[in-house]
Amino acid sequence: MSGNEAVAAGAWEAGVRCASGYPGTPSTEILETLAGYPEVRCEWAPNEKVALEVAAGASLAGIRTLVTMKHVGLNVAADPLMTLAYTGVRGGLVVVTADDPSMHSSQNEQDNRNYARFAKLPLIEPADSSEVREFLKEAYNLSQRFELPVLFRMTTRLCHSKSVTAVGSRIDVPPSGYEKDFVRNVMVPANARVMRVKLEEKLAELSREVESIKLNRIEKRGTIGIITAGNVYNYVLEVLPEASILKLGLSWPLPRKTIAEFAASVDNCYVIEELDPFLETEIRAMGVNLSQTPNPPQRIGELSPEAVSALFDKSSSGHSYPDERGEAVEIAPRPPVLCPGCAYRGVFMALKKMKLTVTGDIGCYTLGALEPLASMDTCLCMGASIGMAYGLERALAENDKTRVVAVIGDSTFLHSGIAPLINIVYNGGHTVTIILDNSTTAMTGHNEHPGSGRTLQGDPAPAVNYQALARALGVRFVATVDPYDVDLFRKTVKRALKYEGPAVIVARRPCVLLPFVRGVKKPKVHLDLEKCTGCGACFRIGCPAIGQDEQTGKCRINPGYCTGCGLCTTTCPCEALEL
């Protein structure tokens, strides 16, 4: 099973009764899998902060809870996390943070191990699916015993790697019931000061225990010693099979005595870790004598067997990255693109034609920033588009011709787009916000959300009405358009830009990959080769169904890909494309 499936299996076996999270690569499949277990109430929350707060509440009743998110999601949930460390938990609570070294599908590659030190919480790092399952159960035991939330760090390579894994049975952890506790649960300063001290006491006790905890182990082999954690352990075994290894399964708080003794027992002791020098800095600060590898450690991007071997290879010039060819041969790149029939293509065709400055957000539609549409100007973090559009607009000089709109997906809007929209209304802005409503969280694999009408476990749910919501916040200009009608969409944006006040346009069309959309067969686009001059206008909308004939240079439609959306027909000056 995959690392993500193993988290679900481990959580189920550990007796988890409630799980909440927000989808984000590489963490999404955890809750999708766990949702299949009837004993677990499994939910998508609008964002990670809410997910952690739900779990914190459920933990008050004494049940075991799981919270899942990608690394940047923990930034959103950091507010409750930092103080939840003070209050502690009743039922075991584990927060899975799925980091993305190399940014396969993320905007940054922050190393969330730093959160463990920052929030003063135990951190567990498994190396493969079997360990994920075992360690997760241990995480719940620790969380319950020390009454602390536990951070469980996964990485893309671990989440999406599969290895042979055993399965076990579920233990039952019934709710112990809620007990009122003013000092512990109400973090007013007087109580927080008490719990602050209590947290240090818990950590001191945990620090003693980690010296003998079975999550950390020493594998004694040769005279070279390696201290490592997580998936990197596998690369070390692959490349340095004769090295002695101190494998940290619980990498915060560190087992200081164990580390010092291990380092002293080998001739040369090295730390090999992915991203930040988290372990190395701490271990050096303890005064432990570490050796330097012949080549400096790689601090950017995920490690690989060859990256670990390059550390010790004096002849190697540095690091090798598995996705790059060693030699300089030109191979046409194949970046991801908007799917054929994606309604967002219509949105970006219109915005490009209008030469607007577009502050963007996180989702499939971020692909609108890439060639050939290239009509998105910014992408920072979830929900940033609306605040940034407003800020940019406010800062432009009066005679500046730049016209700004914000573009944000439905799930992203519900995640963190509502507060910045309130900000525009409150501060008297005129910003135009375009909500791309495709009825799903498409990028992460079609996850339900509060606007989609269904829950994670398939129950019908009320869907947020974006138009009514915008009006309730004080937006007067609210329009809904089907972006397949590029002309009408463009006219609506034009009207919104002229309007003296904030405007919201809902560009609504369900994702073309949703089963109920896919099931409807539509006629494909007809190409009249007599009329086609090979002018290339249709190539510039970046549709994967449109190619160029190698011989004639004219347009060629791939009938296997064409969905019959007809967006290309609006661009063809020769009228060669028809529906």
Binding site: T25, P26, H104, S105, D128, T156, R157, H160, S161, K162, S163, V164, N231, N234, Y235, L237, E238, V239, L240, P241, E242, S304, P305, E306, S309, F312, D313, S320, P322, R325, G326, E327, V329, I331, A332, P333, R334, P335, P336, V337, L338, C339, C364, L367, E371, P372, M443, T444, G445, G536, F539, R540, G542, C543, P544, I546, G547, Q548, E550, G560
Partner: protein, 204 residues
Amino acid sequence: MKKIKNITNILLVGVGGQGIILAAEILCEAAILADHDVKKSEVHGMSQRGGAVNSHVRFGKKVFSPLIPLGQTHFLVAMEKLEALRWEHCLAPGGVIVVNDFRLEPVLAASGKVSYAEDAIERLAARNDRRVIVADGAAKALEAGDLRTMNTVILGVLSCCLPFGKQHWQAALESQVKKNMLEVNLRAFEAGRSLGGCVTPLKM
């Protein structure tokens, strides 16, 4: 530096939507049924949107790293020919390339921003330190009854090179393929197998 012995490394590559992940699943299942330790690694997310996709599969007595070390791929299995060229550098000396003679141009090629390497297969075959098996996956998949089974055809070609029994493949397909698609996939697999012939890497 001592290398781990007796591990077979297979790198499956292609374009998002071609069924690389499913092919890798079937391959892993067959390896497990044949009593091997198996690890598989791939990246989901952006790559599903028509981008380049790869899946690392390693099997043997005991597998550590889920990633194939660079230059140690014994079998490079490409569902698309430009993709074979993109990952060619991962091949071990003496390795085997199974390539689907199928062309899917990147979107940017249509707008003339980049050019498609039309001579991909000639370039792959130009070196003599490897074996290249070229298969017309599309033709065989259509014969089987569904163009989408190209991945299974190519897997059928690869199956001739691997030490798993026919019953392992059969059971793997049955467990991984949707029921309504099973029959056409079994036909596609057989069609691929009939193309294959036993080819092994020159050295492992």
